[in-house]
């Protein structure tokens, strides 16, 4: 096991970028002999804000919360299969709250050495840069952060593992 990176956390949001990050994290965990955790955050802060702003009814909030929880289970199960295919056990973590807060919390609580995230969304407007929750987490966590890019290289590395 590497002394520098013993515990890796990969953030999963259901996007293709996050799934690529999951594959890369499996490669890295296996190569380094590190423990790997995958975190999905059901963004209940956003749901609450939608009710507060009257865009959502309370019924809708309940319905979407249920949908998002089902998404979390589905995506985390998929991540688990990505690890199992390469004999890499993955701790699956499904929590609710604010994305950046929960990522930061788990990095601290689990003493994570490396946070792995998928490629960030393209900044389309000046306002975007203030509201990307993943970027906010990236800036505020105390551990090192790795942003996964180059899809072809990741697939090749995973296939060769």
């Amino acid at each position: 096991m590497s002394d520098i990176i013993r515990r890796i956390l990969v953030y999963i949001d259901g996007s293709e970028h996050a799934m690529l990050a999951a594959h890369y994290s499996v490669c890295l965990a296996k190569t380094l002999g590190a423990n790997l955790s995958a975190l999905f955050v059901v963004n209940t802060q956003a749901l609450g804000a939608l009710v507060k702003s009257h865009i959502f009814l309370e019924d809708e909030e309940i319905e979407y919360r249920r949908d998002l929880n089902a998404d979390a289970d589905r995506y985390l199960r998929h991540v688990q299969t990505i690890g199992e295919a390469k004999n890499v056990p993955i701790e699956l973590i499904n929590v609710s709250g604010s994305v950046s807060t929960e990522i930061k919390k788990y990095v601290n609580e689990r003493d994570i050495d490396l946070l792995i995230i998928g490629e960030l969304s393209r900044i389309q407007s000046r306002r975007d840069q203030f509201y990307d929750e993943t970027e906010r987490a990236m800036r505020s966590v105390r551990c090192s952060v790795l942003i996964v890019k180059n899809e072809e290289q990741v697939w090749n590395s995973y296939d060769r593992l």
Binding site: L50, H54, I55, Y64, S121, D128
Partner: protein
């Protein structure tokens, strides 16, 4: 993912021709059809109106966010309509709606749907931005304001 990832000039109506809520929603749904975002106008319109029947999505500050989840779309679609005179939308502050954001999402994309609606909720907090959008007289101007190029 940002609202600007799915908004194109083809799905912005400046100004909206309709003078009432139902007409404005139909106008925006038809814009989505014309731009190739949806195929079944009636299913999408019915889904939006079903949501509106539960409670109007007319918010404060002249903004309305009609939205629906329906299998009639395969990916999230959005349209914006600007009504300089405002449309009676049953808003919570009683004021007519000048900015109408229509968001349609398939049932299996709740995460993205929530993200887009959250972005609109945030936009609605910027009074100056909303005023600028409401007074925009061209599609290019709307895009420029949303991109924050002013």
């Amino acid at each position: 993912m940002s609202l600007l990832d799915i908004l194109t000039k083809d799905v912005i109506a400046v100004p909206l021709m309709s003078r009432d809520k139902n007409g404005a929603i139909m106008e925006l749904v038809q814009l989505l059809k014309k731009s190739g975002e949806i195929s079944d106008v009636q299913s999408v319109y019915d889904a939006v109106m079903l949501r509106e029947s539960k409670c109007s999505t007319g918010l404060e500050k002249g903004i309305a966010v009609p939205h629906a989840k329906t299998t009639a779309v395969k990916k999230i679609a959005a349209a914006i309509g600007i009504s300089p005179d405002g449309i009676e939308f049953g808003a919570i502050d009683g004021k007519p709606s000048k900015l109408i954001f229509l968001i349609i999402a398939p049932p299996d994309q709740s995460g993205k749907h929530v993200a887009f609606l959250s972005e609109i909720a945030r936009l609605s907090q910027y009074q100056q931005l909303c005023d600028e959008l409401a007074s925009a007289r061209s599609v290019d101007r709307v895009m420029a304001i949303l991109q924050g190029e002013e």
